[in-house]
Protein backbone atom coordinates (compact mmCIF):
# COMPACT_ATOMS: atom_id res chain seq x y z
CA UNK A 1 0.00 0.00 0.00
CA UNK A 2 1.47 3.28 -1.06
CA UNK A 3 1.12 6.02 1.49
CA UNK A 4 0.55 8.66 -1.15
CA UNK A 5 -2.80 7.07 -1.90
CA UNK A 6 -3.96 7.47 1.68
CA UNK A 7 -6.08 10.55 1.14
CA UNK A 8 -9.10 11.64 3.17
CA UNK A 9 -11.51 8.92 2.16
CA UNK A 10 -14.70 10.03 0.39
CA UNK A 11 -15.92 12.70 2.76
CA UNK A 12 -17.53 14.77 0.03
CA UNK A 13 -21.01 13.65 0.96
CA UNK A 14 -20.42 14.36 4.64
CA UNK A 15 -19.17 17.82 3.78
CA UNK A 16 -22.19 18.38 1.57
CA UNK A 17 -24.43 17.21 4.40
CA UNK A 18 -22.77 19.47 6.97
CA UNK A 19 -22.78 22.39 4.55
CA UNK A 20 -26.46 21.71 3.83
CA UNK A 21 -27.24 21.81 7.57
CA UNK A 22 -25.39 25.10 7.89
CA UNK A 23 -27.33 26.66 5.01
CA UNK A 24 -30.60 25.25 6.37
CA UNK A 25 -29.91 26.73 9.84
CA UNK A 26 -29.08 30.14 8.35
CA UNK A 27 -32.26 30.07 6.23
CA UNK A 28 -34.47 29.02 9.14
CA UNK A 29 -33.12 31.72 11.47
CA UNK A 30 -33.28 34.31 8.68
CA UNK A 31 -36.92 33.44 8.13
CA UNK A 32 -37.69 33.66 11.86
CA UNK A 33 -35.93 36.95 12.60
CA UNK A 34 -35.15 40.00 10.53
CA UNK A 35 -32.47 40.88 13.05
CA UNK A 36 -30.64 37.64 12.28
CA UNK A 37 -30.32 38.23 8.54
CA UNK A 38 -28.42 41.51 8.68
CA UNK A 39 -24.90 41.88 7.32
CA UNK A 40 -23.58 43.04 10.68
CA UNK A 41 -25.00 39.96 12.40
CA UNK A 42 -23.42 37.69 9.78
CA UNK A 43 -20.11 39.40 10.53
CA UNK A 44 -20.76 38.85 14.25
CA UNK A 45 -21.23 35.13 13.63
CA UNK A 46 -17.99 34.90 11.66
CA UNK A 47 -16.11 36.79 14.36
CA UNK A 48 -17.59 34.59 17.08
CA UNK A 49 -16.25 31.61 15.11
CA UNK A 50 -12.69 32.88 14.83
CA UNK A 51 -11.20 31.75 18.16
CA UNK A 52 -13.12 28.46 18.43
CA UNK A 53 -12.54 27.84 14.71
CA UNK A 54 -8.75 28.08 15.01
CA UNK A 55 -8.84 25.87 18.12
CA UNK A 56 -10.99 23.37 16.23
CA UNK A 57 -8.43 23.30 13.39
CA UNK A 58 -5.79 22.44 15.97
CA UNK A 59 -8.01 19.73 17.47
CA UNK A 60 -8.72 18.31 13.98
CA UNK A 61 -5.04 17.65 13.30
CA UNK A 62 -4.69 15.57 16.47
CA UNK A 63 -8.04 13.81 16.08
CA UNK A 64 -7.14 12.64 12.55
CA UNK A 65 -4.21 10.75 14.10
CA UNK A 66 -6.72 8.94 16.29
CA UNK A 67 -5.62 10.98 19.32
CA UNK A 68 -7.35 13.73 21.26
CA UNK A 69 -6.10 17.01 22.69
CA UNK A 70 -7.89 18.11 25.84
CA UNK A 71 -5.33 20.82 26.49
CA UNK A 72 -6.22 23.15 23.60
CA UNK A 73 -8.31 25.48 25.79
CA UNK A 74 -5.80 26.07 28.55
CA UNK A 75 -2.87 25.90 26.09
CA UNK A 76 -4.56 28.77 24.24
CA UNK A 77 -4.66 30.73 27.51
CA UNK A 78 -1.04 29.86 28.23
CA UNK A 79 0.09 31.19 24.84
CA UNK A 80 -1.98 34.35 25.43
CA UNK A 81 -0.19 34.76 28.77
CA UNK A 82 3.13 34.20 26.95
CA UNK A 83 2.27 37.02 24.56
CA UNK A 84 1.37 39.20 27.54
CA UNK A 85 4.66 38.52 29.28
CA UNK A 86 6.69 39.20 26.12
CA UNK A 87 4.84 42.36 25.08
CA UNK A 88 3.72 44.00 28.31
CA UNK A 89 6.36 42.83 30.77
CA UNK A 90 9.40 42.74 28.49
CA UNK A 91 8.20 45.48 26.13
CA UNK A 92 9.07 43.55 22.97
CA UNK A 93 7.56 44.59 19.61
CA UNK A 94 4.27 42.95 18.60
CA UNK A 95 5.65 40.55 15.92
CA UNK A 96 8.04 39.02 18.47
CA UNK A 97 5.16 38.54 20.92
CA UNK A 98 3.13 36.81 18.20
CA UNK A 99 6.00 34.55 17.17
CA UNK A 100 6.80 33.81 20.81
CA UNK A 101 3.22 32.77 21.53
CA UNK A 102 3.11 30.50 18.48
CA UNK A 103 6.46 28.93 19.40
CA UNK A 104 5.25 28.41 22.96
CA UNK A 105 2.17 26.72 21.53
CA UNK A 106 4.35 24.43 19.43
CA UNK A 107 6.43 23.67 22.52
CA UNK A 108 3.36 22.64 24.55
CA UNK A 109 2.28 20.44 21.62
CA UNK A 110 5.75 18.93 21.48
CA UNK A 111 5.57 18.18 25.19
CA UNK A 112 2.23 16.37 24.74
CA UNK A 113 3.72 14.53 21.75
CA UNK A 114 6.69 13.48 23.87
CA UNK A 115 4.51 12.13 26.67
CA UNK A 116 2.41 10.21 24.15
CA UNK A 117 5.17 8.71 22.02
CA UNK A 118 8.22 8.34 24.26
CA UNK A 119 6.45 7.72 27.56
CA UNK A 120 3.56 5.77 25.96
CA UNK A 121 0.90 7.69 27.87
CA UNK A 122 -2.49 7.56 26.11
CA UNK A 123 -3.33 10.92 24.44
CA UNK A 124 -6.44 11.39 26.59
CA UNK A 125 -4.40 11.20 29.80
CA UNK A 126 -1.32 13.04 28.51
CA UNK A 127 -3.34 16.01 27.30
CA UNK A 128 -5.61 15.94 30.36
CA UNK A 129 -2.43 16.33 32.40
CA UNK A 130 -1.19 19.10 30.13
CA UNK A 131 -4.57 20.84 30.42
CA UNK A 132 -4.08 21.14 34.19
CA UNK A 133 -0.35 21.89 34.06
CA UNK A 134 -0.86 24.76 31.62
CA UNK A 135 -3.84 26.13 33.50
CA UNK A 136 -1.82 26.16 36.70
CA UNK A 137 1.21 27.74 35.03
CA UNK A 138 -0.94 30.52 33.53
CA UNK A 139 -2.24 31.35 37.00
CA UNK A 140 1.23 31.16 38.56
CA UNK A 141 3.01 33.29 35.97
CA UNK A 142 0.36 36.00 36.07
CA UNK A 143 -0.20 35.84 39.82
CA UNK A 144 -3.88 35.21 38.86
CA UNK A 145 -4.12 38.76 37.49
CA UNK A 146 -4.92 39.50 33.85
CA UNK A 147 -2.12 41.04 31.75
CA UNK A 148 -3.27 43.99 29.64
CA UNK A 149 -1.89 45.05 26.28
CA UNK A 150 -2.40 48.78 26.76
CA UNK A 151 1.29 49.44 26.11
CA UNK A 152 1.14 47.70 22.74
CA UNK A 153 -1.25 49.85 20.74
CA UNK A 154 -2.10 48.01 17.58
CA UNK A 155 -2.22 44.61 19.30
CA UNK A 156 -6.03 44.68 19.34
CA UNK A 157 -5.99 45.31 15.57
CA UNK A 158 -4.78 41.72 15.02
CA UNK A 159 -8.22 40.30 15.77
CA UNK A 160 -10.55 43.28 15.92
CA UNK A 161 -9.18 45.59 13.23
CA UNK A 162 -10.45 45.27 9.68
CA UNK A 163 -8.24 45.35 6.60
CA UNK A 164 -11.26 44.45 4.49
CA UNK A 165 -13.16 47.37 6.00
CA UNK A 166 -10.40 49.76 4.88
CA UNK A 167 -10.91 48.63 1.29
CA UNK A 168 -14.68 48.11 1.40
CA UNK A 169 -16.10 50.28 4.20
CA UNK A 170 -19.51 48.63 3.90
CA UNK A 171 -18.05 45.23 4.80
CA UNK A 172 -15.96 45.54 7.97
CA UNK A 173 -14.89 41.91 8.24
CA UNK A 174 -12.62 41.62 11.31
CA UNK A 175 -9.04 40.46 10.72
CA UNK A 176 -9.63 37.57 13.12
CA UNK A 177 -11.87 35.97 10.51
CA UNK A 178 -9.19 36.37 7.82
CA UNK A 179 -6.68 34.76 10.18
CA UNK A 180 -9.07 31.83 10.73
CA UNK A 181 -9.38 31.32 6.97
CA UNK A 182 -5.62 31.66 6.47
CA UNK A 183 -4.86 29.13 9.22
CA UNK A 184 -7.46 26.75 7.76
CA UNK A 185 -5.95 27.10 4.26
CA UNK A 186 -2.37 26.54 5.48
CA UNK A 187 -3.25 23.53 7.64
CA UNK A 188 -5.47 22.14 4.87
CA UNK A 189 -2.52 22.41 2.50
CA UNK A 190 -0.16 20.72 4.98
CA UNK A 191 -2.61 17.84 5.50
CA UNK A 192 -3.20 17.28 1.80
CA UNK A 193 0.09 18.12 0.17
CA UNK A 194 2.95 17.33 2.52
CA UNK A 195 4.54 14.23 4.01
CA UNK A 196 3.52 15.40 7.50
CA UNK A 197 -0.10 15.47 6.33
CA UNK A 198 0.07 12.05 4.71
CA UNK A 199 1.53 10.53 7.86
CA UNK A 200 -1.18 12.24 9.93
CA UNK A 201 -3.84 10.28 8.04
CA UNK A 202 -1.69 7.14 7.88
CA UNK A 203 -1.13 7.04 11.64
CA UNK A 204 -4.84 7.53 12.21
CA UNK A 205 -5.87 4.80 9.74
CA UNK A 206 -3.48 2.13 10.88
CA UNK A 207 -0.61 3.08 13.13
CA UNK A 208 0.89 -0.42 13.26
CA UNK A 209 0.92 -0.87 9.48
CA UNK A 210 2.55 2.53 9.10
CA UNK A 211 5.18 1.64 11.69
CA UNK A 212 5.89 -1.71 10.00
CA UNK A 213 6.39 0.04 6.66
CA UNK A 214 9.44 1.66 8.21
CA UNK A 215 8.09 5.08 9.16
CA UNK A 216 9.54 6.70 12.29
CA UNK A 217 6.13 7.16 13.85
CA UNK A 218 7.32 8.82 17.06
CA UNK A 219 9.15 11.63 15.28
CA UNK A 220 6.25 12.36 12.92
CA UNK A 221 3.72 12.23 15.73
CA UNK A 222 5.67 14.74 17.80
CA UNK A 223 5.78 16.95 14.71
CA UNK A 224 2.01 16.62 14.31
CA UNK A 225 1.36 17.59 17.95
CA UNK A 226 3.80 20.50 17.63
CA UNK A 227 1.93 21.73 14.53
CA UNK A 228 -1.38 21.49 16.41
CA UNK A 229 0.20 23.38 19.31
CA UNK A 230 1.40 26.16 17.01
CA UNK A 231 -2.15 26.54 15.68
CA UNK A 232 -3.38 26.74 19.29
CA UNK A 233 -0.86 29.57 19.73
CA UNK A 234 -2.62 31.49 16.95
CA UNK A 235 -5.91 31.08 18.85
CA UNK A 236 -4.13 32.44 21.95
CA UNK A 237 -3.10 35.56 20.03
CA UNK A 238 -6.64 35.97 18.69
CA UNK A 239 -8.36 35.80 22.08
CA UNK A 240 -5.74 38.03 23.73
CA UNK A 241 -6.09 40.59 20.96
CA UNK A 242 -9.88 40.46 21.08
CA UNK A 243 -9.98 41.02 24.86
CA UNK A 244 -6.92 43.32 24.91
CA UNK A 245 -5.75 41.14 27.77
CA UNK A 246 -4.54 37.68 28.68
CA UNK A 247 -7.14 36.33 31.13
CA UNK A 248 -5.42 33.53 33.04
CA UNK A 249 -8.61 31.91 34.36
CA UNK A 250 -10.25 31.53 30.94
CA UNK A 251 -9.92 28.60 28.58
CA UNK A 252 -11.12 25.46 30.31
CA UNK A 253 -14.23 24.22 28.50
CA UNK A 254 -13.13 25.66 25.15
CA UNK A 255 -11.60 22.28 24.25
CA UNK A 256 -15.03 20.65 24.33
CA UNK A 257 -16.51 23.31 22.04
CA UNK A 258 -13.59 22.81 19.65
CA UNK A 259 -13.98 19.02 19.68
CA UNK A 260 -17.74 19.41 19.10
CA UNK A 261 -17.03 21.53 16.01
CA UNK A 262 -14.60 18.89 14.76
CA UNK A 263 -17.05 15.99 15.04
CA UNK A 264 -19.95 17.98 13.60
CA UNK A 265 -17.64 18.63 10.66
CA UNK A 266 -17.37 14.89 10.03
CA UNK A 267 -13.94 14.09 11.45
CA UNK A 268 -13.96 10.62 12.95
CA UNK A 269 -12.83 10.32 16.57
CA UNK A 270 -11.34 6.94 15.70
CA UNK A 271 -8.89 8.67 13.39
CA UNK A 272 -7.82 8.47 9.78
CA UNK A 273 -10.65 10.56 8.41
CA UNK A 274 -11.50 14.25 8.46
CA UNK A 275 -11.00 17.57 6.74
CA UNK A 276 -10.30 21.14 7.79
CA UNK A 277 -13.14 22.43 5.59
CA UNK A 278 -15.53 20.13 7.46
CA UNK A 279 -14.27 21.49 10.78
CA UNK A 280 -14.77 25.11 9.70
CA UNK A 281 -18.33 24.25 8.66
CA UNK A 282 -18.82 22.49 12.00
CA UNK A 283 -17.58 25.55 13.90
CA UNK A 284 -19.88 27.80 11.85
CA UNK A 285 -22.87 25.54 12.62
CA UNK A 286 -22.16 25.94 16.34
CA UNK A 287 -21.87 29.74 16.05
CA UNK A 288 -24.99 30.11 13.90
CA UNK A 289 -26.93 28.00 16.36
CA UNK A 290 -25.77 29.93 19.43
CA UNK A 291 -26.34 33.28 17.74
CA UNK A 292 -29.72 32.35 16.25
CA UNK A 293 -31.15 30.89 19.46
CA UNK A 294 -30.07 34.01 21.35
CA UNK A 295 -31.59 36.33 18.76
CA UNK A 296 -34.86 34.40 19.07
CA UNK A 297 -34.59 34.93 22.87
CA UNK A 298 -34.63 31.21 23.61
CA UNK A 299 -33.92 30.68 27.33
CA UNK A 300 -30.20 30.02 27.98
CA UNK A 301 -30.95 26.61 29.51
CA UNK A 302 -32.64 25.48 26.31
CA UNK A 303 -29.82 26.83 24.17
CA UNK A 304 -27.52 24.34 25.91
CA UNK A 305 -29.98 21.46 25.37
CA UNK A 306 -30.36 22.31 21.68
CA UNK A 307 -26.59 22.43 21.15
CA UNK A 308 -26.24 19.00 22.76
CA UNK A 309 -28.83 17.45 20.47
CA UNK A 310 -27.22 19.03 17.39
CA UNK A 311 -23.90 17.36 18.24
CA UNK A 312 -25.56 13.97 18.68
CA UNK A 313 -27.62 14.42 15.50
CA UNK A 314 -24.61 15.44 13.41
CA UNK A 315 -22.57 12.43 14.45
CA UNK A 316 -25.55 10.11 13.93
CA UNK A 317 -26.00 11.43 10.39
CA UNK A 318 -22.31 10.74 9.83
CA UNK A 319 -22.69 7.14 10.98
CA UNK A 320 -25.72 6.58 8.74
CA UNK A 321 -23.66 7.77 5.80
CA UNK A 322 -20.86 5.32 6.63
CA UNK A 323 -23.29 2.36 6.72
CA UNK A 324 -24.69 2.99 3.24
Amino acid sequence: MSLTKLKPSGSTLQKALAFGSLIALVLIFSFLSENFRTLSNMINILQATSVIGVLAVSATIVIITGGIDLSVGTAMTFTAVTAGMLLTWLGLPIPLGVIGAILMGALTGLASGFFITKMRIPPFIATLGMMLVLKGLSLIFTGTKPIYFNDSPGFTEIASGSLVGLLVPAFPLPNGVLILFAVAAIVGWILNRTALGRYTYAVGSNEEATRLSGVNIDAWKMGIYALAGAVTGVAGILIASRLNSAQPALGQGYELEAIAAVVIGGTSLTGGRGTILGTIIGALIMSVLTNGLRILSVAPEWQIVATGFIIIGAVYADMLRKKT
Binding site: N44, Q47, Y148, R242, L243, A249, Q252, I295, P300
Partner: protein, 312 residues
Protein backbone atom coordinates in the same frame (compact mmCIF):
# COMPACT_ATOMS: atom_id res chain seq x y z
CA UNK B 1 -12.05 7.87 40.92
CA UNK B 2 -8.87 6.25 42.19
CA UNK B 3 -6.92 9.43 41.60
CA UNK B 4 -9.56 11.43 43.40
CA UNK B 5 -9.48 9.19 46.44
CA UNK B 6 -5.71 9.26 46.46
CA UNK B 7 -5.77 13.02 46.23
CA UNK B 8 -8.24 13.26 49.07
CA UNK B 9 -6.14 10.93 51.15
CA UNK B 10 -3.04 12.95 50.41
CA UNK B 11 -4.72 16.23 51.31
CA UNK B 12 -6.02 14.83 54.57
CA UNK B 13 -2.59 13.45 55.41
CA UNK B 14 -1.05 16.81 54.56
CA UNK B 15 -3.69 18.55 56.63
CA UNK B 16 -2.85 16.40 59.65
CA UNK B 17 0.83 17.18 59.26
CA UNK B 18 0.27 20.93 59.03
CA UNK B 19 -2.08 20.94 62.01
CA UNK B 20 0.77 19.67 64.11
CA UNK B 21 3.02 22.37 62.74
CA UNK B 22 0.74 25.26 63.60
CA UNK B 23 1.70 26.81 66.90
CA UNK B 24 -0.88 25.91 69.48
CA UNK B 25 -1.07 29.36 71.05
CA UNK B 26 -2.19 31.00 67.80
CA UNK B 27 -5.86 30.73 66.94
CA UNK B 28 -6.41 29.01 63.58
CA UNK B 29 -9.24 30.25 61.30
CA UNK B 30 -9.53 28.72 57.82
CA UNK B 31 -11.65 30.58 55.24
CA UNK B 32 -13.26 28.42 52.57
CA UNK B 33 -14.12 30.75 49.72
CA UNK B 34 -16.00 30.32 46.44
CA UNK B 35 -12.86 30.84 44.41
CA UNK B 36 -9.43 32.38 44.42
CA UNK B 37 -8.68 33.27 40.81
CA UNK B 38 -10.88 36.31 40.47
CA UNK B 39 -9.53 39.59 41.72
CA UNK B 40 -12.61 39.89 43.89
CA UNK B 41 -11.52 36.90 45.98
CA UNK B 42 -7.98 38.16 46.15
CA UNK B 43 -9.39 41.37 47.66
CA UNK B 44 -11.44 39.37 50.19
CA UNK B 45 -8.24 37.51 51.07
CA UNK B 46 -6.40 40.79 51.53
CA UNK B 47 -9.04 41.88 54.06
CA UNK B 48 -8.80 38.54 55.87
CA UNK B 49 -5.00 38.80 56.03
CA UNK B 50 -5.30 42.30 57.45
CA UNK B 51 -7.57 41.07 60.24
CA UNK B 52 -5.26 38.08 60.83
CA UNK B 53 -2.34 40.41 61.46
CA UNK B 54 -4.40 42.70 63.65
CA UNK B 55 -5.85 39.97 65.89
CA UNK B 56 -2.72 37.80 65.74
CA UNK B 57 -4.44 34.68 64.37
CA UNK B 58 -3.48 32.17 61.70
CA UNK B 59 -5.73 32.51 58.63
CA UNK B 60 -5.74 30.30 55.53
CA UNK B 61 -7.76 31.06 52.42
CA UNK B 62 -8.74 28.56 49.76
CA UNK B 63 -11.51 27.95 47.26
CA UNK B 64 -12.30 25.80 44.22
CA UNK B 65 -11.33 26.81 40.70
CA UNK B 66 -14.81 27.52 39.43
CA UNK B 67 -18.02 28.44 41.18
CA UNK B 68 -19.66 25.26 39.90
CA UNK B 69 -17.41 22.91 41.88
CA UNK B 70 -19.66 22.40 44.87
CA UNK B 71 -18.11 18.98 45.52
CA UNK B 72 -14.57 20.33 45.66
CA UNK B 73 -15.63 22.99 48.11
CA UNK B 74 -17.22 20.38 50.36
CA UNK B 75 -13.94 18.45 50.33
CA UNK B 76 -12.09 21.61 51.36
CA UNK B 77 -14.53 22.21 54.18
CA UNK B 78 -14.13 18.61 55.36
CA UNK B 79 -10.37 18.94 55.42
CA UNK B 80 -10.52 22.28 57.22
CA UNK B 81 -12.81 20.86 59.92
CA UNK B 82 -10.50 17.91 60.47
CA UNK B 83 -7.82 20.41 61.49
CA UNK B 84 -9.91 21.39 64.52
CA UNK B 85 -9.87 25.13 63.89
CA UNK B 86 -10.91 27.75 66.44
CA UNK B 87 -13.56 29.01 64.02
CA UNK B 88 -14.27 28.76 60.33
CA UNK B 89 -15.27 31.19 57.58
CA UNK B 90 -17.37 29.75 54.79
CA UNK B 91 -18.75 31.21 51.55
CA UNK B 92 -21.17 28.52 50.42
CA UNK B 93 -21.47 27.68 46.74
CA UNK B 94 -24.49 25.57 47.62
CA UNK B 95 -25.73 26.19 51.12
CA UNK B 96 -27.91 23.06 51.24
CA UNK B 97 -25.05 20.76 50.29
CA UNK B 98 -22.91 21.98 53.18
CA UNK B 99 -25.44 21.71 56.00
CA UNK B 100 -24.47 18.21 57.27
CA UNK B 101 -20.85 19.37 57.60
CA UNK B 102 -21.84 22.62 59.26
CA UNK B 103 -23.88 20.64 61.75
CA UNK B 104 -20.76 18.60 62.53
CA UNK B 105 -18.87 21.84 63.10
CA UNK B 106 -21.55 23.00 65.49
CA UNK B 107 -21.42 19.72 67.43
CA UNK B 108 -17.65 20.06 67.67
CA UNK B 109 -18.11 23.58 69.02
CA UNK B 110 -16.49 25.28 66.03
CA UNK B 111 -18.29 28.55 65.30
CA UNK B 112 -19.05 29.14 61.59
CA UNK B 113 -19.12 32.61 60.02
CA UNK B 114 -20.76 32.73 56.61
CA UNK B 115 -19.34 35.26 54.17
CA UNK B 116 -20.18 36.67 50.74
CA UNK B 117 -23.51 34.87 50.63
CA UNK B 118 -25.68 33.47 53.37
CA UNK B 119 -26.39 29.89 54.32
CA UNK B 120 -30.04 28.78 54.63
CA UNK B 121 -29.56 27.58 58.17
CA UNK B 122 -29.23 28.97 61.69
CA UNK B 123 -25.84 27.36 62.26
CA UNK B 124 -23.63 30.31 61.23
CA UNK B 125 -23.14 32.65 64.17
CA UNK B 126 -22.85 35.57 61.74
CA UNK B 127 -23.05 36.38 58.03
CA UNK B 128 -20.76 39.01 56.53
CA UNK B 129 -22.11 39.83 53.09
CA UNK B 130 -23.27 42.44 50.66
CA UNK B 131 -27.00 42.74 50.28
CA UNK B 132 -26.91 41.76 46.61
CA UNK B 133 -30.63 42.33 46.14
CA UNK B 134 -30.38 45.91 47.41
CA UNK B 135 -27.19 46.52 45.43
CA UNK B 136 -28.75 45.31 42.17
CA UNK B 137 -31.87 47.39 42.89
CA UNK B 138 -29.60 50.43 43.13
CA UNK B 139 -28.21 49.49 39.70
CA UNK B 140 -31.79 49.34 38.38
CA UNK B 141 -32.60 52.80 39.72
CA UNK B 142 -29.39 54.24 38.25
CA UNK B 143 -30.21 52.60 34.92
CA UNK B 144 -33.65 54.18 34.87
CA UNK B 145 -32.19 57.56 35.81
CA UNK B 146 -29.61 57.45 33.00
CA UNK B 147 -31.82 56.18 30.17
CA UNK B 148 -34.70 58.46 31.15
CA UNK B 149 -37.14 55.93 32.58
CA UNK B 150 -38.12 54.14 29.39
CA UNK B 151 -36.75 51.76 26.75
CA UNK B 152 -35.40 48.25 26.41
CA UNK B 153 -32.71 46.83 28.67
CA UNK B 154 -31.06 43.42 28.99
CA UNK B 155 -29.13 41.59 31.71
CA UNK B 156 -26.10 39.31 31.41
CA UNK B 157 -25.89 37.19 34.56
CA UNK B 158 -22.78 35.28 35.63
CA UNK B 159 -24.82 32.22 36.52
CA UNK B 160 -28.35 31.17 37.32
CA UNK B 161 -27.82 28.88 40.29
CA UNK B 162 -25.64 30.61 42.89
CA UNK B 163 -27.12 32.93 45.51
CA UNK B 164 -25.28 35.98 44.12
CA UNK B 165 -26.31 35.18 40.54
CA UNK B 166 -29.96 34.84 41.53
CA UNK B 167 -30.03 37.81 43.94
CA UNK B 168 -28.38 40.26 41.56
CA UNK B 169 -30.51 39.24 38.61
CA UNK B 170 -33.76 39.24 40.57
CA UNK B 171 -32.83 42.38 42.50
CA UNK B 172 -32.41 44.24 39.22
CA UNK B 173 -35.37 42.72 37.36
CA UNK B 174 -37.83 43.07 40.25
CA UNK B 175 -36.85 46.68 40.96
CA UNK B 176 -37.39 47.57 37.28
CA UNK B 177 -40.76 45.80 37.24
CA UNK B 178 -41.89 47.40 40.48
CA UNK B 179 -40.70 50.97 40.05
CA UNK B 180 -39.96 51.61 36.39
CA UNK B 181 -42.91 50.47 34.26
CA UNK B 182 -41.56 52.29 31.20
CA UNK B 183 -38.56 49.99 31.02
CA UNK B 184 -38.86 46.62 29.31
CA UNK B 185 -36.41 43.81 30.11
CA UNK B 186 -35.97 41.99 26.81
CA UNK B 187 -33.53 39.29 27.87
CA UNK B 188 -31.68 37.73 30.79
CA UNK B 189 -28.75 35.81 29.32
CA UNK B 190 -26.07 33.81 31.12
CA UNK B 191 -22.42 34.52 30.29
CA UNK B 192 -20.79 32.40 32.98
CA UNK B 193 -18.50 35.32 33.84
CA UNK B 194 -16.54 34.48 30.65
CA UNK B 195 -15.34 37.67 28.95
CA UNK B 196 -15.46 36.36 25.40
CA UNK B 197 -18.85 34.67 25.75
CA UNK B 198 -20.29 37.80 27.36
CA UNK B 199 -18.97 39.88 24.43
CA UNK B 200 -20.65 37.58 21.92
CA UNK B 201 -23.91 37.62 23.89
CA UNK B 202 -23.82 41.42 23.97
CA UNK B 203 -23.42 41.63 20.20
CA UNK B 204 -26.26 39.18 19.65
CA UNK B 205 -28.51 41.14 22.02
CA UNK B 206 -27.70 44.31 20.09
CA UNK B 207 -28.45 42.58 16.79
CA UNK B 208 -31.74 41.23 18.12
CA UNK B 209 -32.71 44.58 19.67
CA UNK B 210 -31.24 47.44 17.64
CA UNK B 211 -33.10 49.90 19.91
CA UNK B 212 -31.58 48.49 23.13
CA UNK B 213 -30.86 51.32 25.56
CA UNK B 214 -29.25 49.67 28.55
CA UNK B 215 -27.23 46.65 29.66
CA UNK B 216 -26.53 45.38 33.18
CA UNK B 217 -23.84 42.82 33.97
CA UNK B 218 -23.90 40.98 37.31
CA UNK B 219 -20.14 40.48 37.65
CA UNK B 220 -16.75 41.65 36.49
CA UNK B 221 -16.20 39.18 33.62
CA UNK B 222 -19.65 39.90 32.22
CA UNK B 223 -19.15 43.66 32.44
CA UNK B 224 -15.80 43.60 30.64
CA UNK B 225 -17.20 41.37 27.89
CA UNK B 226 -20.15 43.75 27.58
CA UNK B 227 -17.86 46.75 27.03
CA UNK B 228 -15.96 44.80 24.39
CA UNK B 229 -19.16 43.72 22.61
CA UNK B 230 -20.65 47.24 22.58
CA UNK B 231 -17.37 48.65 21.29
CA UNK B 232 -17.16 46.09 18.49
CA UNK B 233 -20.79 46.67 17.52
CA UNK B 234 -20.14 50.44 17.63
CA UNK B 235 -23.40 50.80 19.54
CA UNK B 236 -24.46 53.52 21.93
CA UNK B 237 -25.80 51.80 25.02
CA UNK B 238 -25.74 52.55 28.72
CA UNK B 239 -23.69 49.85 30.46
CA UNK B 240 -23.82 49.26 34.20
CA UNK B 241 -21.36 46.79 35.68
CA UNK B 242 -20.64 45.06 38.98
CA UNK B 243 -17.47 44.91 41.09
CA UNK B 244 -14.27 46.51 39.79
CA UNK B 245 -10.98 45.39 38.24
CA UNK B 246 -8.68 47.45 36.06
CA UNK B 247 -10.56 46.97 32.78
CA UNK B 248 -13.86 48.01 34.32
CA UNK B 249 -12.32 51.04 36.02
CA UNK B 250 -10.74 52.10 32.71
CA UNK B 251 -14.08 51.71 30.93
CA UNK B 252 -15.78 53.94 33.50
CA UNK B 253 -13.06 56.58 33.27
CA UNK B 254 -13.27 56.64 29.47
CA UNK B 255 -17.06 56.84 29.51
CA UNK B 256 -17.70 53.48 27.81
CA UNK B 257 -19.40 52.32 30.98
CA UNK B 258 -21.87 54.54 32.82
CA UNK B 259 -20.95 53.20 36.24
CA UNK B 260 -20.95 50.10 38.39
CA UNK B 261 -21.87 48.70 41.76
CA UNK B 262 -18.95 47.86 43.96
CA UNK B 263 -19.07 45.69 47.00
CA UNK B 264 -16.55 45.99 49.76
CA UNK B 265 -14.53 42.78 49.32
CA UNK B 266 -11.75 43.85 51.67
CA UNK B 267 -14.41 44.57 54.28
CA UNK B 268 -16.02 41.16 53.75
CA UNK B 269 -12.71 39.39 54.45
CA UNK B 270 -11.91 41.62 57.42
CA UNK B 271 -15.34 41.36 59.08
CA UNK B 272 -15.41 37.58 58.60
CA UNK B 273 -12.17 37.04 60.47
CA UNK B 274 -13.08 39.61 63.12
CA UNK B 275 -16.43 37.90 63.79
CA UNK B 276 -14.80 34.45 63.75
CA UNK B 277 -12.23 35.49 66.35
CA UNK B 278 -14.89 37.06 68.56
CA UNK B 279 -17.10 33.96 68.32
CA UNK B 280 -14.19 31.66 69.10
CA UNK B 281 -13.53 33.67 72.25
CA UNK B 282 -17.17 33.26 73.21
CA UNK B 283 -18.06 36.90 72.67
CA UNK B 284 -21.38 37.78 71.08
CA UNK B 285 -21.42 38.85 67.44
CA UNK B 286 -24.02 40.55 65.25
CA UNK B 287 -26.00 38.00 63.27
CA UNK B 288 -26.01 40.02 60.03
CA UNK B 289 -22.97 42.09 59.16
CA UNK B 290 -23.78 44.27 56.14
CA UNK B 291 -20.43 44.98 54.57
CA UNK B 292 -22.00 47.59 52.31
CA UNK B 293 -22.00 48.52 48.63
CA UNK B 294 -21.50 51.68 46.60
CA UNK B 295 -22.41 53.13 43.23
CA UNK B 296 -19.37 54.54 41.46
CA UNK B 297 -18.96 56.37 38.17
CA UNK B 298 -16.49 58.79 36.60
CA UNK B 299 -17.48 61.50 39.11
CA UNK B 300 -16.49 59.65 42.30
CA UNK B 301 -14.15 56.86 41.20
CA UNK B 302 -11.09 58.65 42.61
CA UNK B 303 -12.63 59.71 45.91
CA UNK B 304 -10.77 58.04 48.79
CA UNK B 305 -13.79 56.20 50.22
CA UNK B 306 -14.52 54.62 46.82
CA UNK B 307 -10.91 54.06 45.74
CA UNK B 308 -10.38 52.12 48.99
CA UNK B 309 -12.90 49.42 48.06
CA UNK B 310 -11.97 49.11 44.37
CA UNK B 311 -9.34 46.63 43.24
CA UNK B 312 -7.29 46.31 40.07
Amino acid sequence: MITRRLLLGATTALAMMTTGAIAQDKMYVPLISKGFQHQFWQAVKAGADKAAAEFNVEVTFEGPETEAQVDKQIEMLTTALSKKPAAIGFAALDSQAAIPLLRKAKEAGIPVVAFDSGVDSDIPVATAATSNVAAAALAANKMSEIIGGSGKVAVIAHDQTSRTGIDRTEGFVNEIKAKHPGIQIVAVEVGGGDHLKSAEITKTLLAANPDLKGLFATNEGGAIGMVQGVQEAKAKVTIIGYDSGKAQKDAIRSGLMAGAITQNPVGIGYETVKAAVAAAKGQSVAKDIDTGFFWYDSSNIDKPEIAAVLYD
